[in-house]
């Protein structure tokens, strides 16, 4: 990592398979609509693996998911994100010698991500086997200004020779998705999902329209190549592939640039995707590339202005925050047809599926910094509400909606339901994010139009799932966030969230009633006062497991009676446990993949005494492996909350470096977007102590010992607030908007211009 926080660079990297594939992910270009892995234009030798792919967010095919034993209602067809085309191919010939970093000699090389410019660059000083030397610089961009546009600017300078330079630029429609039958986290089989049409040139734009095999979708890829010098050109098409060849003569020291424009338009967004692709291409090439670079920079300037977390101290970790935030804006969908997948658009891990990651790990960032994106994520869930209702029926519920555990366009895509569909907490997570959105933005219009309907329907689901037992409302046979303990009764996280969901269903009912906004949704759903009363009664009677002897909240009814997994004696190579132990073996033990009760304590801290949360933290910390990437950030936040700053910083470190340091060893399959949001949360919710509560915004800033200072900005209603934390105290500034009440270290303050307060040891002082 460079000193400059907005640059991430690797030099003279290894040409080993693992590192190559890792860099394909780390340097991918995306804009929330399309994503292109950072594959070498010229490819690798045949003996090296590559995940070569270009993806569109929300564009999918159906794929068969065979169940070893057929049981009623199991998912047998999933939606899967597709590799749509290969427009990355550019082969370079220097007087007939083909460029490859695996031949000749690489004198220098670097790969650079510039997060202010929004481009990646590969630079190679190369000596051919016959001794020709050239400098090759390749700049790539997924445009934020024109979402269907991806560009490659490929510059060659001859160093010690003159002669013929040839580019073979390809556009290939026949592509496959990556598969690895041995890894549960990527697709296990290859299938020809994309059926490409014949490639054809329209003027000098090659176009291929491909159809999915089952989902009835289509995508058009258009490619145009421009050379900076007059050249001999050849164009060829064969089946679903197009070749555009340029041959030009260079003097020694001269340079030439090939600019390759790719436009990808799908039928989800565009009625006539071929027409749309040609239209976008026309617009893209009508302006110089510099224009698009400038728009890219402007977009990011605004982004960083609002969203950056500035840190002084411990560059390695703090710069990783910037990297992570950059990936979030690259990954998040910008229309209601898409969301943000577990791996963004950087790879095929989890097949492009959206999980609860969105609501619990990523949405908080966007809610605080770009509320319109948070709103869009809610709209996406509303679009898929009918599918969630259908899913609830499959699961045997007579009423309510159950959101799928993983999906692209709303259909449940989890194959193993005990750690998939059984994670009913997804309903509570979505409701929670809507409530947070409302608390921060007070956007009652969105609640009336779609938010409340989701909250009502998820509340109904809880009513249909749970039952009263000895006067307590119990929720049986569900799985909490911790996937090492499946199908349990009264998971604390699930129950406390269901309680919140039920309570807020009643709240929204009354608020909308008072504002005369209730009638449409009340009629649509056939809501009655009586049903609302049932919600309230169940919320009140909700059973929240509590163990008096330990003063903790047990993760579920049975957790504490199981044997404690001996983590100390578990060999290092046995982690993550899920790859080395049968699920039953894990389920039978006190061992957690990730924060579960600890997460519940973070999001709903007022449900328990601080003391209970502290005891719980200490208890669960001992049995948690953090095999999930969603875990350390939450432990960091809660360590901050509970007055354990060193621990908080250590967990923050784990979280922030996860992808850049490939600590989970699977970043080749894509970045971990939830963890990236979690890194932000570890700073803002953790060190900053931010909470969104009914009475307003809460802050409780602390400063890690490793840092000199940090600052961030958040939206609160119509206000924009900056929080700066230094050793000598914190400064909270109203940058924009009206004055408002905020809470710092639990005390109310009226924020007019600026507040300066000394730092307190919040978690300890309470």
């Amino acid at each position: 990592m460079e000193q400059n926080k907005f640059i991430y660079e690797v030099r003279d990297f290894d040409l080993e398979n693992d590192e190559l594939m890792l860099n394909e992910t780390l340097f991918h270009n995306a804009n929330g609509y399309l994503g292109v892995r950072s594959n070498f234009e010229e490819g690798y030798p045949i003996n090296l693996q590559s995940i070569r792919g270009e993806y569109i967010n929300g564009f999918y095919d159906f794929a068969e998911m065979k169940q070893a034993e057929k049981l009623f209602g199991l998912t047998e067809e999933k939606q899967t994100m597709l590799n749509v085309a290969d427009t990355q191919g550019i082969r370079l010939f220097l007087n007939g010698e083909e460029f490859s970093m695996f031949a000749g000699e690489t004198l220098e090389s670097s790969r650079t991500l510039d997060m202010e410019k929004g481009t990646t660059r590969r630079r190679v000083m190369w000596r051919s086997p016959q001794g020709r030397e050239a400098e090759i610089t390749i700049v790539r961009m997924a445009s934020f200004a024109m979402l269907p546009l991806f560009t490659i600017e490929y510059r060659v300078r001859t160093l010690n020779f003159s002669g013929e330079i040839r580019f073979d630029s390809t556009h290939i429609g026949s592509v496959l998705n990556y598969c690895d039958p041995g890894d549960p986290r990527v697709a296990g089989e290859t299938f020809q999902h994309i059926l490409p049409g014949t490639a054809a040139f329209t003027d000098d734009v090659s176009v291929i329209v491909s159809h999915t095999s089952k989902s009835g979708l289509a995508v058009a890829s258009a490619v145009k190549n421009q050379l900076s010098k007059p050249a001999v050109e050849k164009r060829k098409v064969r089946d679903s592939a197009a070749l555009h060849q340029f041959t030009v003569s260079l003097a020694q020291g001269e340079e030439v640039t090939l600019t390759k424009y790719t436009v990808l338009c799908d039928s989800v967004r565009y009625g006539d995707c071929r027409g749309a692709a040609l239209g976008h291409m026309h617009k893209a090439v009508s302006l110089p590339l510099k224009h698009w670079y400038r728009l890219q920079e402007e977009y990011l300037k605004k982004y960083w202005e609002n969203c950056a977390v500035h840190v002084k101290g411990d560059d390695k970790l703090s710069n990783a925050i910037t990297y992570n935030l950059y990936q979030l804006i690259q990954s998040v969908g910008k229309d209601p047809h898409s969301n943000i997948s577990a791996k963004g658009l950087s790879g095929e891990g989890y097949e492009g599926h959206y999980f609860w990651d969105t609501e619990m790990y990523i949405q908080p960032f966007f809610l605080l910094t770009m509320p319109e994106i948070a709103k869009n994520l809610i709209e996406y869930r509303y679009t898929t509400l009918p599918a969630a209702r259908e899913n609830a029926r499959i699961m045997g519920h007579k009423k309510g909606a159950l959101y799928p555990w993983r999906t692209i366009m709303g259909k449940e895509c989890s194959g193993y339901f005990p750690s998939g569909s059984a994670q009913y907490h997804i309903d509570g997570d979505i409701a929670y994010s809507i409530i947070s959105y409302y608390l921060l933005t007070k956007d009652l219009a969105l609640i009336a139009r779609c938010g409340a309907e989701i909250v009502f329907e998820t509340a109904r689901l809880w009513m249909d799932t749970g039952n009263y037992s000895e006067g307590r409302f119990c929720i049986n046979s569900v799985t909490g966030p911790d996937e090492y303990t499946c199908l349990v009764n009264n998971n604390y996280y699930t129950n406390v969230l269901a309680q919140y969901n039920l309570k807020w269903a009643a709240r929204f009912y009354r608020i909308l009633g008072e504002e005369n906004l209730l009638s449409p949704v009340e009629k649509k759903l056939g809501l009655t006062e009586e049903e609302i009363n049932c919600f309230e009664r169940a919320a009140k009677a909700m059973y929240l497991p509590y163990d008096a002897a330990l003063d903790i909240n047990p993760q579920d009814d049975a957790f504490l009676s199981k044997k404690v997994w001996n983590l100390d004696d578990t060999p290092q190579e046995d982690f993550p446990l899920l790859l080395h132990y049968h699920p039953l073996c894990l389920y039978r033990s006190q061992v957690c993949k990730q924060a579960d009760t600890v997460l519940a304590h973070f999001i709903l801290e007022d449900a328990q005494a601080l003391r209970t949360m502290k005891h719980s933290f200490e208890y669960y910390e001992k049995v948690t492996t953090h095999d999930s990437s969603l875990s350390t950030c939450i432990f960091s936040i809660m360590a901050s909350r509970l007055g354990m700053p060193e621990k908080a910083y250590a967990y923050f470190g784990e979280s922030s470096k996860l992808d850049l340091f490939n600590t989970h060893k699977n970043t080749k399959d894509g970045i971990h977007t939830a963890n990236m949001g979690g890194t932000y949360m570890a700073v803002v919710y953790g060190f900053g102590g931010l909470r969104i509560k009914e009475d307003g915004l809460h802050l409780a800033p602390t400063l890690p010992g490793q840092w000199e200072e940090y600052d961030f900005k958040v939206h609160d209603g119509d206000s924009l607030i900056q929080v700066s934390v230094q050793r000598r105290g914190c400064e909270i500034t109203l940058l924009d908007g009206t004055e408002k009440e905020i809470f710092v270290y639990g005390k109310s303050h009226m924020l007019r211009d600026s507040l300066r307060l000394p730092l307190e040891e919040w978690g300890r002082s309470q």
Copy 2:
């Protein structure tokens, strides 16, 4: 059903698909080694389905079992029973007109199973489309005297015409298994498991040697046809098929018989299976068919002498007992390479797998009537003990053996582990059957040679699975017999059986020690006194759930806190529930597929007060659907035990008629062998009140109101005992062997010659 109990016959049966396939099962021929479905020799028209198959017990191939999501240790390859060849084909031509019951006119038809002769017969009076009438009689036999031998005796008599009669007898090596992608209980896909070699005639015997695609096994099928008259013969082979054609002229009223011998020899039992098949064929045809019929009758005479249950009254149900017992001897393996599969050798349901059905439902019958077969079933489990150890390692256990939930040769073949591998009670079931075998036979040699090793290794598994919690030994995350409630903590059935298993491991340790038989197994397993003490301590501390308010044993820790499924309001077409509700929906409710705690009370009745068992029976009866075929027989036994004779008889009725009346609507896929054993148990353990206990044999005879009398014989050590029950009392006679103490209605009696006692109302009187 005919008056004669040993005849089952249907006349003028429908040629509808359902009935045809049902009869393929009900009239199948088997001998425990091979089984042949009762397909029409001439086949059905193309629009009708048939499960046409010939199977060998324990002969299998590996089949891929894809998991929708890959998790560590899940089964991805199963063993599956194969259809090995088609030697049933005989086409008949009357002056060129081909016989088919679907053409011309069937004037009379019947299918008959003669359970004394051990043969089936199809008789048809047929008029061809052109008016030729013939009587066709086909007798089939799977020989008990020569297990690889199956015969078809095909007789034709011309009635109103003379002319040319032609038989085309085929032998086909290229066969597939049946599949139905929609039914979880049979294979979902077709795969060419059998790779047949080229057919060839050796003299007039056609032989095909086929190899399995993956398991490395081979099978030879040999066929020989003999005509009762000189004929023009033709033989042809093409690829893996052989045809033997006979053409003969008959006068009106004359008859001709084709005898077709099939021999199937596999490489599991025979080194050179081709040589073995030819050798067996040579022996088979060297004696007239009548000789084999006579041996068949003799074998069955002996079988019925020992095993029959004679009943007077309610012929419909009581004759079904005979049918069921006949199927057991047809189904059970007679060598240690095989066991008894859930469908015997009558069909492909459950793919020929062996389950706990063997130990808990079928072995009791053989133990009492043919102890050498019970012994053989234990030997089979011993043969697969190394595989059970391996399975325990896969499941994360450091010691002990975990038997597979379903298997052919020892490998776990369940695809969905929550209702498969998680049924750890299989270990207890096997231990229980070994203990029962010992208690009845006192065969300590078998215990020393293999029984104790199994009991020790299963005891170790419990130690490694369970843990102490608050001083109680708990067993978490397992599934009990009831598959509508999976992955639970402290399933009563599992725990009480584990307790018994642990207790008896210690017992066997001491008994073998006293008899100087311990040393080999002690050394082999590295057993220590200390470990035995741990067994005893855990057995003593075993947690057995008990609810004082209801005075019942809850099925598991959480069962009673779940909502009660409303069975009254569940539409009839929703049964069995597993085909209409998502597993989670079932798991979340108080609803049982089958006897679970009630079964525990039957097998270990001394663990609870009679009162508690009665309350439990009443409680579980209300929430049990009996969607499993293993349920009603147990409810019948316990109803007898608890003094509810009418209820006992009603459940017995459900059990006894299950296959003959096709009440579960899937008998086409094969008979339900466990239920057949269960029918026997409902009589002998239920009405007869038999129990095998440490102090000896217990009886408590009752007489159902619908019956006049019944009797049965049982072995007890070296003694053979007959129990006759009549309205005026029961008579217990020592037919053979030494005098011994038995218990009748709880009171000790010395059985010398005969005991006559009045009937008591046992369950009520206690």
